[in-house]
């Protein structure tokens, strides 16, 4: 069973690097740098590019045409998550330093800093790339005690539309586990 499912997954999954390449020239794309060198292998690495988003849109059209249209204007969703529990303070300091460098780079490229949370052992940065009335990209970098998450949403969309897309998925957050 496990072998069958792994084979199916291997056949179905489009390599993350191939999806990454398709997004690199988009204005909302963010180069997070050498995260693997800093944190090690990611526990979760996802890159859904325009081709796959187009497929999702076409298969969502019957069920929810409005959301399907929004999917069409999404160009990419990328995420890398790293487990940081058990790492020493040096790595955390390096991680925070790395976030600072990316933040500076984003600001220099015209990204707007929307949220900045700095707590002992925790940092959250949220940036948006705005072009006129359009949001071209959203970037979230969050380092907590047990994990570091780097998220990049690319596409012409506004927050309300992103909310609709997110509502299209059933997601639960376990507050007790997060606190």
């Amino acid at each position: 069973m496990r072998i069958v499912l792994m084979l199916l997954t291997a056949l179905l999954a489009t390599p993350a690097w191939a999806q990454e390449d398709a997004m690199k020239n988009l204005p909302g794309y963010v180069d997070f740098g050498q995260l693997n060198a800093l944190f090690g292998e990611p526990s979760v690495e996802i890159a859904v590019g325009p081709t796959l988003l187009g497929l999702v849109a076409s298969f969502s059209a019957d069920e929810d045409p409005e959301v399907a249209e929004i999917f069409k204007r999404l160009d990419g969703v990328r995420i890398k998550v790293f487990e940081t529990s058990g790492t020493d303070a040096g790595i955390n300091a390096s991680a925070f330093d790395h976030i600072g460098k990316i933040s500076s780079s984003l600001s220099a490229m015209g990204w707007e800093s929307v949220v900045k949370v700095t707590e002992p052992g925790e940092q959250v940065r949220i940036f948006m790339k705005i072009n006129g009335d359009l949001v071209e990209g959203i970037t979230v970098m969050a380092i907590e005690q047990d994990e570091a998450a780097f998220i990049n949403v690319i596409g012409n969309l506004n927050p309300a539309e992103l909310e609709k897309v997110m509502d299209n998925f059933e997601i639960e957050i376990d507050h007790a586990a997060d606190d």
Binding site: L5, A13, I46, I173
Partner: protein, 193 residues
């Protein structure tokens, strides 16, 4: 796993694991199937176990950590059919979960059988449409995971705003932020409750 199946409710974990691993013998499978038809909790347990294993197997290819099971239990599951009243005297959810479990048991049995291909039809297993649909489903699962982390970051920001600011100030600040990013300080589940 061979021999007799489990004997009482709550002792099915080993049987479910054996089923998913293709190690449950025919008699025990039949017994599990019969019991799942009558026991909605057991049906749900089979579905949950299958979904969890599937998720773990998928993420294993992405070098998932050992503790990913905890996370997977928190992230997207397809919304189960809510109970909307009885059908033929039975709760709809029980019927739905029972039917899903039956389908799943049958699917597991099929998947664990040796694949025998007809020489006359060697390359007709999948057409392009089917492949695209499967890729779209995979992408949806990936997006659900990504949005989970986006949601979580927003919730974390909201918590920090609440801690740093008085209630009267925190809410307007979060409202303003919500104009830029969804679900700051309020998970979707809470917002739609």
């Amino acid at each position: 796993m061979t021999g007799q199946g489990p004997s009482k409710t709550g002792d099915y974990e080993a049987a479910i694991n054996a089923l998913l691993d293709g190690e449950l013998d025919q008699a025990a499978t039949a017994e599990l199937k019969a019991r799942a038809a009558e026991d909605s909790q057991l049906s749900q347990a089979i579905i949950d176990a299958w979904q969890l294993q599937r998720g773990l197997d998928q993420l294993q290819l992405e070098r998932a950590p050992d503790g990913l099971g905890r996370r997977l239990r928190r992230i997207p599951r397809q919304q189960r059919a809510a109970s909307r009243g009885p059908v033929f005297g039975l709760p709809r959810q029980a019927l739905v979960t029972g039917a899903l479990a039956m389908t799943l048991v049958a699917g597991v049995i099929v998947l664990t059988q040796p694949v025998i291909r007809s020489p006359a039809a060697p390359q007709q297993a999948e057409n392009q449409s089917g492949t695209d649909q499967a890729r779209a489903e995979q992408a949806r699962r990936d997006l659900a995971i990504a949005f989970f982390y986006l949601d979580k970051a927003g919730l974390r920001v909201g918590q920090r705003i609440n801690e740093a600011l008085q209630q009267e100030v925190a809410e307007p600040v979060k409202d303003t932020l919500n104009q830029h990013l969804p679900y700051i300080g309020l998970s979707r589940k809470e917002k739609h409750a």
